[in-house]
């Protein structure tokens, strides 16, 4: 794998942005400012940043419920503050505050949004991949899923159909070890969940999801196959979520020491040491990236805090495309 210094520096910045974004979201979720519940992706930055880095704007992206990172990186820089505002439930949110953390979508960049129910986007993504095939375009579809998602029956229907019709679909299975509290080894018979794709004759591999170079390389291969019309691929990216299932979950189900051992494998830390030791970038320069990112995210935060709540009229709009639904009289 040959990744240039500039490229590695770029994805390093991407990962730092995800980390900072999530830290701020976590703080304002825990202090009650952000309504509802939040799923954080701290620890999983390489999988999200590496995949998004490999895609073009017109490729279809289905983030998962732990998908803030993929969503932010897919978006255009000028829209990022509206993504945070959406998580805060504000009128200026990218979807007007009607969806929140779990349903952020952005058609400009073909972020097709998440459906709050596991396994749903696994079949919806068939449709965008099908549209590329129907319209003869080379846009591929990436659907993010987790180790837990694989328990849903829709995964079978989706992979069977995608493989039969050779649809340009890439299943990015982020294996962060736990579906809420249940370890994947307790709910699936395979040692490697990637093996599950074998029954569908779909190429698959299990990779180190914390090594961004490996993530980029594997995703590039899958995308190349898909663009050539050779069909779907499943990539299992081994990683770990540092937080509980939702922000505030103490994650008491994890054995002692497990989190600490994964923190040693922090994707940002790993990349930072490569940049310093192999590419000779100074710690000072990397600190500068960190500070610039913090300032940027602070801007998103201030925008979100200062933004107004949606108007109650917004609750009844767009239930249907053509007729209105009555509000309160």
């Amino acid at each position: 794998m040959t990744i240039t210094k500039e490229h590695l520096l770029k994805v390093y910045q991407d990962m730092v942005l995800i980390r900072r974004f999530e830290e701020v979201v976590e703080k304002y979720s825990k202090n009650g400012t952000i309504p509802g519940f939040i799923h954080l992706s701290i620890g999983q930055e390489a999988a999200q940043a590496g995949v998004i880095d490999t895609l073009k704007e017109t490729d279809y992206k289905f983030p998962d419920h732990r998908g803030h990172g993929a969503i932010v990186l897919s978006s255009r820089p000028e829209d990022r503050k509206t993504i945070m505002a959406e998580i805060f439930g504000k009128k200026t949110g990218i979807n007007g505050g009607r969806g929140g953390s779990m349903h952020i979508n952005d058609l400009k960049v073909r972020n097709m949004g998440f459906n709050g129910i596991q396994g749903s986007t696994v079949v919806t993504s068939l449709g965008t991949a099908f549209a590329s095939f129907y319209n003869h375009t080379d846009d591929v579809t990436v659907v993010f899923m987790g180790d837990g998602t694989l328990g849903e029956g829709t995964c079978h229907e989706s992979m069977n159909m995608a493989a039969t019709w050779k649809l340009p679909l890439i299943y990015v299975l982020i294996n962060n070890q736990y579906a809420i509290s249940t370890k994947y080894t307790e709910s699936h018979p395979q040692e490697y969940l990637a093996d599950w794709a074998k029954g569908y004759l779909v190429p698959s591999e299990t990779i180190d999801g914390n090594d961004i170079e490996v993530v980029i390389e594997s995703t590039q291969k899958a995308i190349e196959r898909a663009r050539k019309g050779e069909g779907p691929t499943l990539i299992e990216m081994m990683t770990y979520r540092w937080q509980g299932h939702f922000s505030g979950d103490p994650a008491a189900y994890r054995p002692q020491g497990e989190l600490e051992s994964w923190k040693e494998k922090c994707p940002i830390k790993q990349t930072k040491s490569k940049l310093m030791n192999i590419y000779g970038i100074s710690e000072l320069d990397l600190d500068l990236i960190q500070r610039k990112t913090e300032d940027e995210v602070e801007g998103y935060l201030q925008f979100s805090l200062a933004s107004p709540w949606p108007s109650t009229d917004d609750a009844t709009s767009w239930v249907y495309s053509d007729i209105s639904v009555e509000g309160r009289k």
Binding site: N95, L107, S120, S158, N160, Y320, I323
Partner: protein, 325 residues
């Protein structure tokens, strides 16, 4: 010049003509392409457009999910579920995906899909192929439930359903497939969300959909001999319902009988009744009556199925009760 064709042929013609008009329209489902559908409704389409007709595995969730995703890209899928009862295996995709997409994307994209499904009883197929699933879908804002009763309505409403940017569940009552009626050969559309006054009258409002409209027509005919005049309203779009036409009719007649195939409890007859009580109670001359199926699964044996289905005698009885109250 009038041309008479079956309900089944009218649906087939609507799909053909819409596919001719708009290359974004395609059909997908189990056995819909080469075989032309389990009921033959999509026959001839694959032959004409082999790249726009897709046979799938038995994967209802994938059929609906794929349709939703394709719709978000601007295509217009016409999916077939075969028996409406099979909605159970893809209910999540219809309720939690299709119905939510317009809201989620603030109208910038939506599940512009048609899901065709064969509903209702009467063909001795028991509880997994004979249910009336309409109420399962009528508590889900975002969905449109369309239920034609004649070949003319079937063609015009399906054309509108295909052109609609909303997810439309298009219900085809299996008892109506062979029913014949006048249908123009040219392409035309009929409005969604509008009830139809099937027959005008002054004494009783009969609300009926799909095959129950025939019951209503028969009752109106019989009652006219006794000097009772019935107004018949077919909602056509069951959800969202055109309340106004029903309310205006009952305000005029003061009497309401709803004939609804399917279990009574929480059926749409209940909603129509409460809507009338809520809005125009003071106009009522008698309590409303509901004629429905029994609250059981649908049995197989002919005598049992007939017993569970709505009875014509009950329609007559309900009408005479509201008249004599």
């Amino acid at each position: 010049m009038n041309r008479t064709i079956t309900f089944a042929k009218a649906i087939n013609e609507a799909i053909h003509q819409e596919m001719d008009r708009d290359e974004k329209v395609f059909i997908i489902g189990e056995d819909v392409a080469k075989m032309g559908g389990d009921f033959g409704i999509t026959s001839g389409i694959w032959k004409k457009w082999p790249h726009r007709a897709f046979d799938t595995a038995l994967s209802e969730s994938a059929i609906i999910g794929l349709s939703c995703g394709a719709a978000l890209c601007g295509l217009r899928p016409v999916a077939e579920l075969m028996f409406a009862d099979f909605i159970g295996v893809c209910y999540d995709q219809i309720v939690n995906n299709a119905a939510k997409l317009c809201y989620m994307f603030e109208g910038k994209a939506s599940a512009q899909i048609v899901v065709r499904a064969v509903t209702g009883g009467g063909i001795r197929c028991a509880y997994h192929h004979s249910q009336c699933i309409e109420p399962w879908l009528m508590n889900i804002p975002g969905l449109v439930v369309v239920a034609p009763a004649t070949p003319y309505e079937a063609k015009g409403l399906l054309v509108s359903a295909i052109r609609s940017n909303n997810p439309v569940i298009f219900l085809e009552h299996k008892g109506l497939y062979n029913k014949k009626g006048d249908v123009p050969e040219e392409l035309y559309d009929l409005p969604l969300y509008e009830s139809k006054v099937v027959r005008k009258g002054n004494d009783i409002t009969l609300v009926a959909a799909m095959s129950m409209v025939d019951f209503a027509l028969r009752a109106a005919e019989d009652l006219s001999k006794e000097g009772v005049s019935c107004e018949i309203i077919n909602p056509l779009t069951l959800f969202p319902l055109d309340k106004e036409t029903i309310i205006n009719s009952v305000a005029k007649t003061g009497r309401l009988v709803i004939i609804q195939e399917g279990p009574k409890f929480m059926g749409y007859a209940a909603e129509i009744g409460s809507m009338v009580y809520e809005d125009i109670f003071e106009y009522l001359k008698a309590p409303m009556k509901r004629v429905t199926s029994l609250d059981t699964p649908m049995p197989f044996s002919p005598g049992l199925e007939d017993y569970v289905m709505p009875q014509y005698a009950d329609v007559k009885k309900a009408c005479s009760e509201v008249m004599s109250f």
